[in-house]
Symmetry: C2
Subunit: 212 residues, 2 copies
DNA sequence: TAGATTGTTAATCGATTAACAATC
DNA sequence: TAGATTGTTAATCGATTAACAATC
């Protein structure tokens, strides 16, 4: 079943839907309409229906969507119904934070190894993982068939790490370093850059003359 | 000088331009064309020119843009030419990571206080800041005229913290908790949610039948 | 049956890109 | 002057929203 032309915007909304559906599920709510969803997520109901309809007919006319069923379907679409092995490079504060979020990720993404270039960090324990030297990266990726790499090293090292990930056969990268990294077109890169996020937020502050 | 209808997409690109311009500046490159910028940032030159033209005529025909001048202008647009006081709530791993990035933010955003609800964390030192109990939040915001709040508490506490921020007179919120928080329309909220980022990334992985 | 809500087509809206006169 | 590059208008492209027949 090929899904031909799904825009990035659609794909980015699916996890948001999923998260809210999980909440409904926890509260034992069995059915939800696009109306309800839209209200809670500040989204247009038509948009939600259209987004979902790209992937199949998941709802029932007159009724709405079955919550557990829709959860299952979105998890399938996002490939979250399988465990995806992930490596993380950069065992600084941010790297640690992400490792601790690991449990959070509902068991579908598993950080299987953490790397750092700094000798003082190698061997340190983060949760149940030991920080490995970066020269073991390739072997580990191949061994665990790792598919996603998370980069949490300083900006200057990010491109080098990205190169190594690409060489090692990674499929996608989540880059937290505040630089644009260059990779072959076949590798998907997402940016998670909170400095730009924060800076664009500043734009929306009211301009004030007084500064004290 | 009112800028009437600037889209969010435009504002989000400005920090990216700024970061690259800063790099050029460090390398003593004095002039850059939209062509050059576009190439390095994987963007369309026309888009860059248009984005900048919303705010003024910063370039010179036949020459391009003066790097230091454009940096200055973008910093003005993003209000980064003044120090913006920020508070951070949630002194966990992520909160710590952000505090350490503080120095990174080029002196234009300053985390003036860090808060946590957990008694064991109160009094802890993070860089040059001491973790304060959350009941001091309002007083601190008023005292320092804090404008932006960064939420790095667990999902369940995020809405409560957001409420307190709003009551205290904050203008904007950067929310790292994986929930949608409800605030009055006058408050700008940006989401920095890497779990959704990571989940949407999974979508782009090649589908594989074999799972071992 | 009447009311509700989907899936989908058509209409609208907005953002990106191309093209080019102006001009350094 | 000739070449380069801006600022901006017009053309294109894509995404969002409205509307509604189908149907539970």
């Amino acid at each position: 079943m090929k899904t031909p032309k799904i825009s990035e915007a659609v794909v980015r909304r699916l996890p948001v839907y999923l998260r809210f559906l999980n909440e409904l599920h926890k509260r034992n709510i069995l059915t939800v309409s696009s109306q309800d969803l839209g209200q809670k997520l500040n989204a247009n109901p038509a948009q939600i229906r259209k987004d979902l309809a790209y992937f199949g007919e998941f709802g029932k006319k007159g009724i709405g969507y079955d919550v557990p069923y829709l959860i299952e379907k979105i998890r399938q679409i996002l490939k979250l119904d399988q465990v995806i092995p992930v490596v993380l490079i950069g065992a600084g504060n941010l790297g640690r934070a992400l490792c601790n979020y690991n449990a959070y990720l509902q068991d579908n993404m598993k950080i299987v190894a953490v790397f750092d270039a700094s000798p003082v960090r190698i061997g340190e324990q983060i949760n149940n993982l030991k920080v490995s030297p970066i020269h073991e990266l390739k072997a580990m990726i191949e061994l665990h068939k790792v598919r996603i790499g998370i980069i949490t090293v300083p900006a200057l090292e990010a491109q080098m790490v990205a190169n190594q990930l690409v060489e090692s056969g990674i499929e996608a990268i989540l880059n937290f370093a505040p630089v644009i990294i260059k990779v072959p077109d076949s590798i998907r890169v997402h940016h998670a850059d909170f400095t730009t996020e924060l800076q664009s937020l500043a734009y929306y502050l009211e301009t004030k003359a007084q500064l004290d």
